[in-house]
């Protein structure tokens, strides 16, 4: 349980970090280290050099930007959990953060770190995919970005290239007045890895018809998935119509099987949790006043 030797560098700017990353194939980025340090301790990862980006000013902070909230990569999960902007504008992220690890790991673990790690059962990637967030990257050649759905490829595999690092995540903010979120997950113990997690966000008009709807599923497939719920848009969502849409979307779901849960179990629980999350989101939206302030 002792990591192999490595060099440690803490660059002063993002440009310098990108330069270091691009010039060394054996270098890895470290920020909160809550996943990487165990990997190093068990020697599943043996980078020659760690580039510490945690204190880079360019990667810190949460800001509102025309129709979206941009969360800097090194924002601590605990900080995001308490942040008033996230609570008000990205309620789904605020809702799932208490499920990410434990309080001591959330105090060090970063939002960008969870994205870059790409665990199929992790909650932050699930929110990014469900809300169609944009993953903003930095590299020596300049900043780029890509949709979350293209970013996650498989278990712990992302589209990130050697030499790139996650800069921030841009979460879209829905413009509607009545928005509700719902979230459920099943794991063996509180805050352990989810076997199945479902997150939903629903916007309703004054008559209770669905204006916009997003539903995502984590822990089931090899990466978080956004399910197509467009058939429910413009309708009054009830249990029957929601179940039909979920069944249609989950019909050809490629579920994982492991020591903890079989593919059959995962598929079955996925349907149940999707429905619960969707109904919870709808009810939370319906509880908001139809007129007046959001």
């Amino acid at each position: 349980m002792k990591p192999a030797p490595f060099d440690y560098v803490r660059p002063d700017s993002l440009a310098e970090a990108c330069e270091l990353l691009a010039g060394d194939d054996d270098a890895r980025v470290i920020a909160g280290g809550q996943t990487l340090v165990p990997m190093l301790a068990m020697r599943l990862a043996r980078p020659a050099r760690l580039i510490d980006i945690l204190r880079l000013p360019e990667l810190a902070g949460i800001r509102e930007e025309k129709g979206s909230v941009v969360v800097g990569a090194t924002t601590r999960q605990a900080q995001a959990e308490r942040d008033p902007i996230i609570r008000a504008s990205v309620p789904m992220l605020a809702r799932v953060l208490p499920w990410v690890g434990h309080p001591p790991t959330r105090n060090r673990g970063t939002v960008g770190g969870s994205i870059a790690n790409g665990d199929p059962s992790a909650e932050i990637p699930l929110v990014a995919v469900t809300l169609s967030a944009e993953i903003m990257l930095a590299a020596r050649t300049g900043p780029t970005s890509m949709p979350a759905e293209e970013f996650f490829i498989g278990p712990m595999v992302t589209s990130i290239d050697q030499g790139q690092c996650v800069r921030a995540i841009r979460f879209p903010v829905w413009p509607h007045r009545r928005i509700g979120v719902g979230f459920f997950e099943v794991s063996s113990r509180r805050s352990d890895f989810a076997f199945v997690a479902a997150a939903a966000q629903v916007a309703l008009d004054e008559e209770g018809r669905c204006l916009d709807i997003a539903l995502g599923l984590g822990g089931v497939a090899d990466r978080p998935l956004r399910l197509d719920m467009s058939s429910l848009a413009g309708t009054v969502v009830d249990a029957a119509s929601a179940a039909d849409a979920i069944n249609a979307a989950c019909a050809d779901l490629d579920a994982m099987s492991d020591l903890h849960a079989s593919a059959t179990y995962r598929r079955r629980v996925a349907g149940v949790l999707c429905l619960r999350a969707l109904e919870q989101a709808r009810d939370n939206a319906a509880a908001k006043p139809a007129k007046g302030a959001r």
Partner: protein
């Protein structure tokens, strides 16, 4: 690599390999053996210390990353040598420790909780110690200890409200 650390209010310097975790440096370089080494890969919480007042696993942090923070270990909680903090005392009173291996981590997690929440509910306490494993499974008494400590701390705090009540009574 030379690192300046601030541990329990004292500045200390060490020349250490980057691969040494904060846990190893606390124990081996500074002989602060109250921070216990359990699983050493972030599962058990025995190595919990406070970084700027918030609980963190010291096995999941390299010492070279820890400069500039205020680090508190279990040795830093008692008001004076040979004394106990209120939470440590409460753990003794309610038999909140069995083998004692998880205790420093439990106490530091509880300390951070009571610093920001003086009247925690049972759920708040369970959430606060959810990252600490007691292999003796003595969670019942640990929760009792934290509840008792919260009551003791509240009872020992000079209350402004009480004075206000008194002045209201005097005015009448």
């Amino acid at each position: 690599m030379k690192v300046d650390l601030r541990i329990n209010g004292v500045s200390r310097t060490a020349d250490i390999e980057p691969r040494k975790t904060l846990l190893d440096v606390l124990r081996e370089n500074f002989l602060l053996n109250g921070t216990h080494a359990g699983c050493e890969h972030g599962v058990c919480g025995a190595c919990t210390v406070l970084i700027d007042g918030e609980p963190v696993r010291s096995c999941l942090m390299f010492a070279v990353q820890a400069d500039g923070y205020e680090i508190t270990t279990i040795e830093g909680l008692a008001p004076a040598p040979g004394e106990l903090s209120v939470i440590q005392d409460a753990f003794c009173e309610t038999h909140g420790l069995q083998c004692g291996y998880c205790t420093p981590g439990m106490i530091l997690s509880a300390h951070a909780l009571l610093q920001r929440n003086v009247t925690p509910t049972r759920e708040d306490i369970v959430e606060a110690i959810s990252g600490n494993i007691c292999r003796c499974t003595g969670y019942g008494q640990i929760i009792e200890a934290v509840q008792f400590a919260a009551r003791l701390r509240l009872a020992n705090t000079p209350r402004q409200a009480a004075q206000t009540d008194k002045s209201v009574a005097e005015a009448k």
